[in-house]
Symmetry: C2
Subunit: 404 residues, 2 copies
Amino acid sequence: MALSPLAPAAFPDLPVIDGVTFAAAAAGVKYKNRVDVMLALLAPGAAVAGVFTRSSTRSAPVLDCQAKLGGDPSGPAAILVNSGNSNAFTGARGVESVKAVTHAVAAETGVPEARVFTASTGVIGEPLPHDRIVAKIGELAAAQASDGIADAARAIMTTDTFPKGAKAEVRIGGKTVRIAGIAKGSGMIAPDMATMLVYIFTDALIDQATLQALVSQANAKTFNCITVDSDTSTSDSLIMAATGASGVDVAGNADFADALHSVMLDLAHQVVRDGEGATKFVTLAVTGAKDDADANKVAMAIANSPLVKTAIAGEDANWGRIVMAVGKSGATADRDRLCIRFGDITVAENGWRAPSYSEAETSAYMKAQDLEIGVDLGIASGKSTVWTCDLTHGYISINADYRS
Amino acid sequence: MALSPLAPAAFPDLPVIDGVTFAAAAAGVKYKNRVDVMLALLAPGAAVAGVFTRSSTRSAPVLDCQAKLGGDPSGPAAILVNSGNSNAFTGARGVESVKAVTHAVAAETGVPEARVFTASTGVIGEPLPHDRIVAKIGELAAAQASDGIADAARAIMTTDTFPKGAKAEVRIGGKTVRIAGIAKGSGMIAPDMATMLVYIFTDALIDQATLQALVSQANAKTFNCITVDSDTSTSDSLIMAATGASGVDVAGNADFADALHSVMLDLAHQVVRDGEGATKFVTLAVTGAKDDADANKVAMAIANSPLVKTAIAGEDANWGRIVMAVGKSGATADRDRLCIRFGDITVAENGWRAPSYSEAETSAYMKAQDLEIGVDLGIASGKSTVWTCDLTHGYISINADYRS
């Protein structure tokens, strides 16, 4: 598949996180000779937090991870991920597959089974050929390397056109705390948590409950504020592990929280930039709503509107479709207070096309690759920003025959 | 634009409804030499009912109609509709346009202004050149004909590829009551009422309140159960007029209610069959839900899923995406009770691919033009049926440059 035109220039040079090692391998889950499985090992005592899809048809690995989070953190931990098959809607057999894989990881690495977190991503409803994964675990355990995170980022890709990574460093009390994260995601991206796979590692010292709170808080404004196609995956998982190897306690440290937020936002934006068929990256900033929840309703209604997204694909400044999406959102809105801007150009104000509106100027703006659309409802001070991409022929081509 | 492959063979031969006349004309609202305005005149005493979009950014004509419904029915009535411009998000000027048009109709025809109902459909946010419409009203009044409904159906089209009509006749007490309806709609079709323009006429005798109740009830299971693209129009209006000319009182008559329901369902299906870019007509039947509302949530989540719709376009029996859509719907669902069928083929049962599943058989079924997908949640007895179409390159092509 052709590289997304919105892809970053290169995969970032991620820092080594003391206490974490990685390896990736080609297990042949769906395709031969494609690196499709990765194993990360965490030193004893690492705090592990996570957020997951709220789908009522979520996958066996998601249910298994949710049951394990918050358990005894004293032992080592492991994260095993395969692409090519989501092990979702696979009934009792799916549960057995998770057991087989987690058991094999535990047997091979000495990690307690209750600390082996797995994820699977790919086609829904096909039995996971877990024997192929189990057969590779010895190799994965033997090949562990502290600088293997880039290979891990590639191993979890499905329809992604580029691997996704982000990093941050924070100086606290004269010491450096490092964060490195990877993500996969391209289609079936709508927020009801993370809608993708994300793994973030830090050498910060932090307890599980505090880490979980930080992750959940940042998630609400990052991964839960992106959408490619309004569809919510059955497999979405974000797991964050803090090894504590830096010895720096970050509980209550605002700089660390900001750094984590920036890593999560960076990864979330990369998922949108790799949205299936995407040619435009769009920031939707809604202000003046009754409250933040109402603002988010409006922003998501716009971001998920096929008519808005196709107009953006066509570089058409069709702001009437923004009005339509505001109207259908269910949020409190007063047509006669509504203002809409494309970049710095006010296109509509007070329920009517702006007197200064210039079709030529707005059309020229629409040719940019990164667009910002602002909607002010003029009601109160609720606000929300979400990110999305356009809807193109590329999306149809990718999804009309993905499974075949 | 090419005729939809799902179009009916011909426009039906609609019956004359005693007490209603029609005329259509080319006013040049957006394009020259395109019939884009229609005027229907109703004999004194006709009961007029309606349902409208619930969009918070609904158009000036919609607000005007909503204010007028239920008024004194003793005088004659008129319905004037233009295509090419929706007069939506046009501020105070939009209200003035409605006044100018309704005033002109009243002056030319003697219909009280409070009984002149208008609608406008087309681009949002552009001033309506109402002078062009006003200039044609004399011609429209002079050309009234009882058999002009087919021309009226053509006058209200926008991106529609065929005019839409439906009819029914009911024998009550040895007399015949007739119903004739027309509709337009192709994109920006999602139910929050009718999401299109619909005009239905009958010679039945019925009071306004009873007619309104009948229309609202049928609407809930017809126009509110279709979706093309999940986007809700700012202009949707359904108006039904009963002239009483047959002298047959239909209040409480189940046959009449059934006949009205069948006309509305027929028109609703035609809108889906003319869905922008549609190549498949899909019936989604959800059963076994907690209640009917939950069943509708599931049906709509499937019908609006871009991933489900693109799979159908690709004739791909990708039932895993149905599982995904059930999961994201927010309805009560138990993965391990879920059953899915494509036509008569059970593809999944009890949370797992059906043992009898045959990829070849299911793929062969997907090649049909009309598809039925059944989902049984296995929870209780709530049910809902909705109708939709696929999402194709045609939709992208039509909408990436509609306004230009």
